[in-house]
Each structure stands twice: as structure tokens, then as C-alpha cells.
């Protein structure tokens, strides 16, 4: 199984630990960045993981930022993803079993390594169990986004990155 993984600069160390954890268990990990602690923007990496999952370059994705909220929203806004942002094992199991969640979102500053590993294990050990009811819900979720032009458009965020470079976003 190939797992795409992505994070922002706040939790690169946590991402690296999870990557090692998965590789030690025999999974192939596709590291979508970021790779260091230099300030960057979580939508870039949420989008990258999502694209690799929906185009079947990876079997599932894991996205991590401080709370997990920002990066999961980026991944959720790509057609074909079903992202869960979880802090507990019960939600991870439900997300996979009932809604065939394909990207797991985690808050690297919110939960500790033990729970992060436990949640990932629970997700990976759960199979989707289709029922008439949950297939209908999945169909309704998948129908919410039509537009797939964002997928593999590497210049999608350029206008904002240029504005950033010009110093137009400041505290």
C-alpha cells in the first residue's frame, strides 16, 4: 500500500516520525512535503496529497498541520476526497468503515505521538463496509464538488504566492 503524506512547517518533525513509523511497518510512503521548517502554506500540501489520492497515485493520504484544520480543508476541497479530521480511534474507524474516508487529517500540536500512531493503525486496520445507506451518503458527498481543474495545476496558487512575495500579507 502506498500512503501519500503532507504537512505544513509547524509539524514537519511529526510528519517525519509518522513517515518512519509507516516505513518500518512496510508501507511505501510518498512524501509530498513540506520538508523543512521554513514558513509555507498548508493548502499547497493538502492539495498535493489529495491529488495523488484521487488520481490513484497513492492508496490513501495523511495530512497534518498544527490543529489539522487548515490542511484538511485544502484536501477536502479537491473532488473525490473524503477527509476526516480525527483525534480519536472511534472516529477513524467510523470514517473508514462507513464513509470510506481516503485521507486522514491529524493535529500534530493537539495529539501526542502515541495517539497519532494508534489512530493511523486503527484506520489502516479497518475496511470499508458498504451498505445501501452509507453508499447513498457517499454519493451525496462526492456530488458536492464538480470542478476538478485544481488537480495537478501547479500554478493554481501563484497569484497569492506573488502577493506574499510582494509583502502584501503581513501581521
Amino acid at each position: 500500500m502506498k500512503i501519500a503524506i503532507g504537512c505544513d512547517h509547524i509539524v514537519t518533525d511529526i510528519k517525519n516520525k509518522i513517515k518512519n513509523y509507516l516505513e518500518d511497518k512496510g508501507f511505501e510512503v510518498m512524501d509530498c512535503g513540506t520538508y523543512d521548517f521554513e514558513r509555507t502554506h498548508y493548502p499547497i500540501y493538502g492539495k498535493k496529497v489529495a491529488e495523488n489520492v484521487v488520481t490513484k497515485q497513492a492508496d490513501m493520504g495523511i495530512v497534518i498541520c498544527g490543529t489539522g484544520v487548515g490542511i484538511t480543508n485544502a484536501a477536502q476541497k479537491v473532488k473525490g476526497t473524503r477527509v476526516a479530521l480525527v483525534g480519536d480511534v472511534a472516529s477513524a474507524i467510523y470514517a473508514k468503515k462507513e464513509l470510506n474516508c481516503n485521507i486522514l487529517g491529524l493535529g500534530g500540536r493537539v495529539i501526542g505521538m502515541g495517539m497519532l500512531e494508534d489512530i493511523i493503525d486503527a484506520y489502516l486496520h479497518t475496511s470499508h463496509k458498504p451498505t445501501k445507506e452509507n453508499e447513498q451518503l457517499i454519493k451525496q458527498i462526492d456530488a458536492l464538488i464538480d470542478n476538478d481543474e485544481v488537480i495537478h495545476d501547479e500554478h493554481f496558487f501563484d497569484e497569492y504566492l506573488e502577493k506574499w512575495e510582494r509583502g502584501e500579507y503581513h501581521d
Partner: protein, 143 residues
């Protein structure tokens, strides 16, 4: 600012508790699932529609058993930034950094006291903007 709140049947009791708690804290709450909707898709779509009516002012809270399904539905709408929450820290941070306008809570996951804290923090914490705005602009372009 107005909170639009909705739930399915399993989230109904927690939804009512949160609604009353926010009201006693002088927060305006509009309940779009008085009876509890049949599923999370119905409830989430109603809350999202209410938030999008005035996206600069309104915020949404959606409750079902896990919070997972409503998160999938809400975040797939343009101009909605949604947080699936278990903890109070994220409730504050997601307003401060992400400008989240909807949160989801699982009634089977989060206890009443934590749920109240999460909702109160979400309703009252402010967005910091500044450097965070580039990421919000990026999200809002996506879908």
C-alpha cells in the same frame, strides 16, 4: 453574528444543550433542525446555506454522532472553512488562524462539558488575519 445550528437525530440532544448554553451567554442562535434531520447531509446543507447567507457574520455548528460526515459535507462548499473538533484548543486556534466559519462535533465522541467549551470558544474567538490570510485566500479559491 449569528450561530446557525443543526443536527441529525443522534446529535439532537447535544444540539439542544449547546443551543441553550450559547443563548444563556447572549449569543444569537438559529436552530435549523428543530426535530433533528434524518441524516448528516440534510443537516449540514441547511447549516451551510444559513452561513453562506451572510458569510462575513454567520457561523455554523453541526452535530451528529461522529462529526466526520458533516465535516466532509461542509468543507466541500466554497467559502466554508470547517473544523471537525474534539478539543477546546483547536476551537480557539481555528478561529484565530483559519477563520473557520463552521465546526462539527460528534455527540458520541465529545462529552457535554467539552462540547460547551468548544462551541463557546468558537463563537467568541476572533480571526487574526495578517499572514494567515494567504492560506484562507487559497482555500477560498479551491471550490
Amino acid at each position: 453574528m449569528k450561530i446557525i445550528i443543526g443536527s441529525d437525530k443522534k446529535g439532537w440532544a447535544l444540539k439542544n444543550l449547546i443551543k441553550e448554553y450559547l443563548k444563556t451567554n447572549n449569543i444569537i442562535v438559529e436552530d435549523v433542525s428543530i426535530e433533528g434531520d434524518n441524516n448528516f447531509v440534510e443537516a449540514s446543507k441547511k447549516v451551510v446555506a444559513g452561513v453562506l447567507e451572510n458569510v462575513d457574520e454567520n457561523k455554523g455548528i453541526i452535530i451528529d454522532e461522529y462529526g466526520v460526515g458533516p465535516f466532509m459535507v461542509a468543507a466541500k462548499h466554497k467559502y466554508i472553512i470547517c473544523a471537525e473538533l474534539n478539543d477546546e484548543h483547536s476551537a480557539k486556534m481555528t478561529r484565530d488562524h483559519n477563520n473557520a466559519n463552521v465546526i462539527t462535533i460528534g455527540s458520541g465522541i465529545v462529552g457535554d462539558a467539552v462540547a460547551k467549551q468548544i462551541c463557546y470558544r468558537f463563537a467568541t474567538a476572533a480571526y487574526a488575519a495578517g499572514r494567515h490570510q494567504i492560506r484562507v485566500d487559497m482555500l477560498n479559491k479551491m471550490c
